[in-house]
Each structure stands twice: as C-alpha cells, then as structure tokens.
C-alpha cells in the first residue's frame, strides 16, 4: 500500500486530538484517581438537607470519602432520604453519625461523617441512624433575635439615653 503525506497528516491530526482528550481527562478532569474507586451505598434520613446536591461530597475529618448518589423525598415520614456512595477503601462502625455541613459560611454543602464506637461495620444497604440536619441560617438569626428580645435590657452605657434610671 503506497503511502502519501495525507496519511501522515491524518495520523498526526487524530493523534493530536487524542492527546488533547487525554489532557482534558487526566489533567483537567481528574479522571481515574477518584472515579475508578469501588463504592458501596448506605442511606440516611434527614429532616432538612439544606443545599445538598446529587454528586455532592461526603467528607470525614475533611477528607473526601464518597459522594451523594441520590436524594429523594420520603412521603411517609416527610423527610429527605439521601443515598451515599462511600469509597470501599474505608469502613465505618454501625453507629456512625451523618450531618449536613457547609464549608465556610457560603461554601458548598456536604455530608460529614463522624465515626462511632460500634464493633459491627456499616455494610451496603444499611441506614445511618444518627443524623443531624442542615443549619438554616435564617432560623438561627431569628432565634438569636428572639432570645435577645426576651432578655431584660442591658444597662445602657450613656446616661443621656437611659430613661429607666432613677
């Protein structure tokens, strides 16, 4: 089969495209290191998941240990049912607790896992019993305001603006 320059250019062009795909996959998209990991799924119910999203991170001690696989609304209990896909490299005691946390004040919402002390391990299909809901900032602020309002007024520093002084 006779060879032409066109063959060379075609080969170089397709190779360049393939290299670009590899760069985008490995250097930009971080394929492989995290995706290849095997996972197992456990469930958890929360009263309020705040801004949690599917594919959001699951962290323990700040380390990424899994991803949120699914979020559904349980119409019998009126709670959110969250399925977590945890990395099979890590195992957890049965009484591990899950809470909805936020990284920083305005950062992304994630699920935080805190290990318990049980001898038995959490296996696929289990449910995490101890959960803590998301902190709703508005509720927190209104609680603070109401508790401040119900307190007896603090002694005013400036004498001019103190009407209750005898």
């Amino acid at each position: 089969m006779e060879r032409t320059t066109i063959d060379l250019w075609f080969g170089a062009f397709v190779t360049a495209g393939f290299v670009a795909l590899l760069v985008l996959a490995l250097k930009v998209g971080n394929l492989g290191s995290e995706r290849a990991a095997q996972t197992y799924r456990v469930e958890a119910r929360f009263d309020n998941i705040g801004g949690l999203k599917v594919r959001g991170p699951v962290r323990s001690a700040g380390v990424l240990v899994g991803r949120v696989a699914d979020i559904r609304f349980d119409n019998d209990r009126f709670q959110a049912q969250v399925t977590l896909a945890l990395d099979s490299r890590y195992t957890w005691p049965k009484d591990t607790s899950a809470s909805i946390l936020t990284s920083g004040l305005l950062g992304e919402t994630y699920v935080g896992l805190e290990a318990g002390g049980d001898d038995k391990k959490l296996v696929a299909g289990d449910r995490i019993q101890i959960t803590q809901s998301a902190v709703v900032l508005e509720k927190l602020i209104s609680q603070l305001l109401f508790s401040k309002a119900s307190e007896p007024p603090a002694p005013a520093p400036a004498p001019a603006s103190a009407p209750s002084r005898k």
Binding site: F10, G17, A20, V23, L24, A25, V28, G29
Partner: protein, 264 residues
C-alpha cells in the same frame, strides 16, 4: 397610499422559501448518509478532506484557543481578585472552555474557515459542470464529492474542539499561574475537583460532534444548491457562514438545556 401587499408578499415568499430549503436540506442529509458507503470503502477520500478541513484549520484553532484562554484568565482574575478567590481561576477557565466556548467557538471558526471553503469548492464544481460530468461518467457526485467532506467534518470538528479547549486551559494557566502568580497546585487541584469528565468533557465533545454534522451539512448543501453563477457561489458562501453560525448558537442552547436537565 402605501402598498403593504408587496412587503407582505415578500415575507410570505421568504417564509415558504425557507421551508422549501429546510425540506430539501433534510432530503439532502438523507441522501448523503445513503451514499456514504464509498467514503468508507475508499477512506483515503475522507482523509484527504480531513487534511483540508481539519489539519489546515489547526493554526487558527490553536491560536484562538490560546488567546481565548488568556483573555478568560485576565478577565476572571480581575473579578475573582475582589473576592480573594483567585485560585478559582482554573475552575472558571476550564469549565467555560470545556462546556461552552471550546465547542461553540471552534465550530464558529470551523464554519468560517472550512465550511465556506467547502461551499465555494462544491459551488464552483457545479458552476464549471464538473458534477454533471461526473454524473455522465456514472460517478455519483454525492458519493465521490459530498459524502467524504461530510464525514471529514464529523471527524475533524470534535478533534478541533478538544484542541481548542486544551489550548485554552494552557492559555489560562499562562496568565493565571505564570503571569499573576496564582498557586500552581491550587490552580490544578481546584480545576480537577470541579471538572467532571463525564458531565463536562464528554458533553462538550457531544456538542462538537453535533456542530460538526450541522456545519458540514449546511456547507455541502449550500454548495450543491448554489445557482451556477459567480454571484450564486458568493451568495451561497455567505449563507453558509451565516446559517452555520445561527444554527450552532441555537443548537448550543437546546443541547445545553438538555444537558443541564439531565444533570440535576
């Protein structure tokens, strides 16, 4: 009194003409697919067209990708700096390139660099009656001329889009890390945490693939359909670029809407 009938008649004529063209373009598309067998039996025909549409577009794609990435880096740094989040520059550059700018800008460049050339070439072949001559020799111009260009576009477009995105990320790196001194590790690690291969890179590739089909179908159809005069070919070339650009942007909206829907 102003005669309103004439503009109205022209509007109606243009509308019907548009429908007509859409219909013939659909039939043309089917015909190209039906006569594609030759392109794969004699794959060298496709390779030759990949050289003309893809390889010769490399320079413009690489240079534009680099500059688009650098501009994204500059503008992004300027804004992110106010919030002390300059490390996120990698996320900004990579996501906007891989999801949108890579496929769309590469397709626009491809339409104006390669699409217009395809239209002019086929239009001129028609004007000089080369296509008729082929028909006389029992060589199907569809199989010999149109289909190889169509498949070449489908092969080239995703590759060009990938190269555009990769060069853009490199441009963003040059501006962010080398020029402004954003931390190298944070630049890449934040980017890697935010960009998902399946949802971002592959969806971008799918877009490029669809744009490749759209641009080449429009370019070959306009050439094939061009009136066999110098004026006709020039008009067809213009129409290729205009129609391709509009189609790319409209398709991009539709595809993005579907992809975001599938995401959540």
């Amino acid at each position: 009194m102003l005669d309103v009938r004439r503009p109205l008649a022209r509007l109606g004529h243009n509308f019907i003409e548009g429908l007509w063209r859409a219909g013939s373009m659909a039939r043309f598309f089917g015909l190209v697919i039906a006569s594609s067998a030759t392109s794969f039996v004699r794959f060298r025909l496709v390779m030759r067209e990949v050289y003309f549409t893809g390889v010769l577009s490399l320079i413009i794609i690489i240079v534009s990708g680099l500059f688009v990435g650098m501009v994204l880096g500059l503008q992004g740094y300027e804004t992110l700096q106010r919030y002390g989040a300059t490390e996120s520059i990698g996320v900004l550059v990579a996501l906007s390139l891989v999801r949108e700018l890579g496929p769309v800008v590469a397709a626009l460049l491809f339409a104006s660099r390669a699409g217009s050339a395809i239209t002019a070439e086929i239009g001129l072949m028609k004007t000089t009656e080369q296509l008729t001559a082929m028909d006389m020799m029992a060589v199907s111009p569809m199989a010999r001329v149109i289909a190889p260009r169509f498949w070449a576009g489908i092969i080239s477009m995703p590759i060009l889009s990938l190269l555009f995105s990769a060069m853009g990320v490199f441009g963003g790196y040059v501006v962010g890390v080398v020029l402004f001194g954003v931390d190298n590790g944070a630049f890449w690690s934040q980017m890697q945490a935010a960009v998902e291969f399946r949802y971002d890179v592959l969806n971008g590739l799918l877009k490029a693939f669809v744009f490749g089909i759209a641009v080449t179908v429009i370019a070959t159809f306009e050439g094939y359909d061009a009136p066999p005069t110098a004026e006709g070919v020039s008009g067809a070339t213009t129409r290729t670029v205009v129609t391709s650009a509009l189609t790319i942007l409209a398709l991009d909206f539709v595809l993005t809407a579907f992809m975001l829907r599938a995401d959540t």
